[in-house]
Symmetry: C2
Subunit: 386 residues, 2 copies
């Protein structure tokens, strides 16, 4: 397998977008990535999207987006694994370049979630759960993650304070991200006075409904050197699934797909969690970030909440998590999130993170953990400055 | 890149399935493929599905299907490029094995189309067209293919007789396929007396709404030799897109994505159309088969209809097309069709096609052409007996 590098990144301003449709926002992110990379063509393109069908009645995004990007006859496809679709697109592009099949591949992600309204969005997102055994009985994602939160609190003594600390930290980081949907700071009180969605999760524990797109360009390290861009190598890629429904799992206070995907990525990279400088992780709900950091092996089981409360994962902490603002503040256009995480990791590794959120410790190795459903699938990637 | 072979195939009986859901039919096909291959594990799995979201409210099929297949923690994903999703899954699995990332990969396809009813199915399928510029204005796929048929008739003198001959031929072949949805012969009169859908296309010019699944196992040629199965090598893979909307194309009497994808596959295989013994092609409508055979270079532009009328593509013809019965008789569970085509190509190359439809000329090289939408994307694969 050939060595692969990321040479270009692009992202749209996340939010509720009224003046552009799905195809428009994707093209905006894609052109930004192409411009950043300085490439003069693409060999292929793959885009992650969770459910263009349910959100906007549009599938077949490979053809549609290649067409609107002006890339006639391009080998273009769409991949999906719920909210980890962007991470899957990145992995497939990585394999395609590594294999020798293609030299320059764009991996992107897009979702247009706000056109359909609230009930429609809830139904569309529920398609990531087990339709027959969870959704038919009324379960939606806030409820499923609330079950995980209650179990984690019961087993480990995780507290309301710890959940709130995740939201406060991520909004602090997101306040410095010009592409974030909610780029403002909040306090503990903001979270704790917000409306209850599914106890113990309040609305400020939840990531928002978002329109947005992100794209990155992957190529061989040899081509990257000729482009004159900073070489950000993809050194590890891991992909794993878990039982789709919560009730089928042995333990809902951990995320097994995350542990297995991380193990695979570490093994490929020849690294351990101790070698990683920072990470973007999938904080679709505050409890998710806590459990993910434990499942990655960063903290012992039950210790993730305490760590965030102590500031260990803050911008100035020993292991910064979600410098972008995470899904909570940056926004969560589900199919785009995995690609947006890679955008942030690359910016941090290049020293290009905007508005004071650039890490000061000269990070060399970053990680992205992207999750689908209630953890039914996970992609983990490790990137390193060459 | 490593040499790749198909070592196992599985398919369900296509039709209107009331007693099994999407997950059940996929598992049935997958277990058949695993059993046929004789492998004791999978390294990963990718499944093509056009729109589980719109048909049955279920996305996240990587997690769901790995779970129901008993493959805990498997790297499992879903890919989509409308009705060519199964072909895309096959290509991605091919790249993954060729790259060295995985040794044993299952590529499958599934669609459960009959649960939603007729109007729902029409809306779901329309998601493969350009929602903003075609569907909003009332166009659906029979109408779009009817436009292509009218243009082809006007430009080349293609006749009603020629369209009917495609349906009659494919039903003849399908009558010998125990997995076909409509395994019976029809006459020219059956087609020409059937109800008009979108002039000139009658209902017997159209492929049906179908539930079904298919799966194939890919591995390296080295591993295949140890399994003791016939070695069916994947020697060419091509993928291309075209403008998604018909009105954006220079010429709607040809299918450019098919031509480009075929060129790529021929180049990789080091073959031309003259080296191919037979093909499964995407006859979603009778006119599609005619235009596809021309776009593949098998017949000159405008000569595809005459060829089928003369029997050149029949089971006994010089270049048999759709020995399985094609989408017309076998059925067209949209996400599964590309994988089902590979199943038929492998059966023919192994000499295992059932009930007298096995080609008598000892075929060595077969092709599968799988198309999305009105030709907005196409996958072409070439397989050869080692």
């Amino acid at each position: 397998m050939r060595d692969v590098a990321v040479v270009g990144v692009g992202i749209t301003k996340f939010g509720e977008v009224w003046d552009n449709s799905l195809r428009d926002i994707y093209v905006e992110a894609a052109l930004a990535a192409i411009d950043d990379a300085g490439v003069d063509h693409l060999d292929s393109m793959t885009v992650g999207c969770m459910t263009g069908g349910l959100f906007v009645g549009q599938e077949h995004l490979g053809s549609l987006l290649a067409d609107y990007l002006g890339q006639k006859n391009l080998a273009a496809s769409r991949v999906e694994t719920a909210c980890a679709s962007g991470g899957l697109a990145f992995r497939n592009a990585f394999i395609e370049v590594a294999s020798g099949m293609s030299d320059i591949v764009m991996a992107g992600g897009v979702e247009k979630m706000t056109d359909i309204g609230g009930d429609g969005a809830t139904y569309a997102l529920a398609a990531a759960a087990d339709q027959e055994y969870e959704v038919f009985h009324g379960a939606t994602f806030p409820g499923l993650y609330a079950l995980m939160a209650v179990a984690h609190m019961e087993k480990y003594g995780t507290t309301r304070d710890m959940l709130s600390a995740v939201a406060v930290k991520n909004h602090n980081n997101g306040s410095m991200n010009p592409f974030a949907q909610y780029p403002f700071k909040i306090t503990k009180e903001t979270v704790e006075n917000s409306v209850m969605v599914a106890s113990p999760l309040r609305i400020m524990d939840c990531s928002p409904i978002t329109d947005g797109a992100a794209a990155v360009i992957l190529t061989t390290v040899d081509i990257a050197k000729k482009l004159g861009k900073p070489i950000i190598k993809v050194i590890g890629s891991g992909h794993a699934t878990d039982m789709i429904a919560l009730h089928s799992r042995d333990d809902i206070t951990t995320l097994q797909a995350t542990s297995v995907a991380a193990e695979k990525a570490f093994k490929m990279a020849g690294k351990t969690i101790k070698d990683i400088d920072f990470a973007e992780v999938h904080d679709c709900f505050t409890i998710a970030e806590i459990i993910v950091t434990e499942s990655l092996g960063l903290f012992a089981p039950g210790k993730g909440g305490e760590a965030v409360l102590k500031g260990e994962t803050s911008l100035e902490g020993a292991f910064p998590i979600n410098t972008s603002g995470g899904l909570k503040s940056k926004g969560h256009p589900v199919g785009a999130t995995g690609a947006a995480q890679i955008v942030e990791v690359v910016k941090q590794l290049r020293g290009e993170a905007e508005n004071g959120r650039q890490l000061k410790n000269n990070p060399k190795v970053g990680m992205a953990q992207n999750m689908g459903g209630s953890g039914g699938s996970t992609l983990v990637h490790i990137l390193e400055v060459d």
